[in-house]
């Protein structure tokens, strides 16, 4: 995590425009008991790194209601899902809009249907993901120049989203934990860029979208940065981890 902070700072330093930092879910909790104790630190670290939004995955919903409510409440970033409801529960929003110099970017979160049982235990419901994203994209028509989906779906559903939901510019994340370098696929209304950062926080995806003066994406440049020791530990992040009893 200390390397991730360094890498994100490097992206911010080198970027020629605004930088959005997002997470595509399955992040706060893991399968083992040990992996379920780190959520407070993970949220604090994401706050410190200036995250804008996180999509909800199955592993955001594995803890008890009080625990999940506390973590979502501590987040200074938006917790997004277009298909987890009822609307407004636990502060979950379907999308986030960010406006920059006359251009508006929409971030839509979408949750895997595999989260249904976990969600039900918290009194939540997971709706059809593609229907939900389609509905939100239609709602955003005329409001956003660029539409990015923070996807917790597997590769097959992401592929279907490209062909069945018009209006999306990029789908980020999940794909079953695979690392996927950015590539473009023809969708109903033009190219959709897909990219996934890979498993267990071992890398970050960096995707730059170039817009023309009409707000259309005309080109892109993407890569996955593997967080090798060549990225020095960020001292602020090290201090934060130590406060939570974790050594980097």
């Amino acid at each position: 995590m200390a390397r991730r902070a360094t890498a994100i700072a490097k992206v911010r330093d080198e970027a020629s425009g605004p930088v959005l930092v997002v997470d595509t879910g399955d992040t706060l909790y893991g399968k083992s008991a040990a992996d379920r104790k780190q959520a407070p630190l993970l949220v604090a670290a994401m706050n410190a790194m200036g995250y804008d939004a996180m999509a909800i995955g199955e592993y955001e919903l594995v803890a008890g209601l009080d625990e999940v409510q506390a973590r979502f409440g501590e987040a200074r970033f938006s917790v997004l899902s277009a298909n987890v409801g009822p609307a407004g529960t636990l502060g979950i929003s379907p999308y986030l809009l960010r406006a920059y110099a006359g251009h508006t970017v929409a971030l839509i979160g979408v949750t895997s249907p595999t989260a249904q049982a976990r969600a039900a235990a918290l009194g939540l419901k997971v709706d059809d993901p593609l229907e939900a994203v389609r509905r939100v994209v239609q709602e955003l028509h005329g409001q956003a120049d660029v539409i990015l989906v923070l996807s917790n779906l597997n590769a097959e559903l992401n592929k279907r989203m490209v062909s069945e939901v018009p209006g999306i510019d990029a789908i980020l994340g999940a794909a079953g934990g695979a690392t996927i370098q950015a590539y473009g696929v023809a969708g109903p209304e033009g190219t959709v860029v897909l990219q996934a950062a890979g498993p267990e926080g071992q890398g970050i995806g960096v995707l730059t979208l170039n817009l023309d003066d009409q707000g259309r994406v005309v080109s892109y440049n993407g890569s996955v940065w593997l967080l090798t020791p060549s990225y020095a530990d960020d001292p602020e992040m090290v201090r934060l981890m130590e406060q939570y009893g974790v050594r980097p």
Binding site: L20, V22, Y183, G190, G198, E200, G201, V224
Partner: protein, 80 residues
Amino acid sequence: MRRWLVGFLLLAAVLVGCRVEEGAPTSYPARTPAAPSTPGATRTISPSPVRPTTPAAGKVDFTITVVHSGGVVGKVLPCG
């Protein structure tokens, strides 16, 4: 005369064979999935037939960068 004719036929056979070989592929290789981008390479997106283009289309006016993580599954590793 017979030798000349045999030679001519052999030459013709070779030429026809070469021509057949040159034009042999009648089908194209199966399309492979879109190749991953080379890190650092900028890919241009063709104008969409649905989103109408203007003469200004293609000129970069604004750039936005998205950093994304995911699938951390509760692990606080030195890297991610």
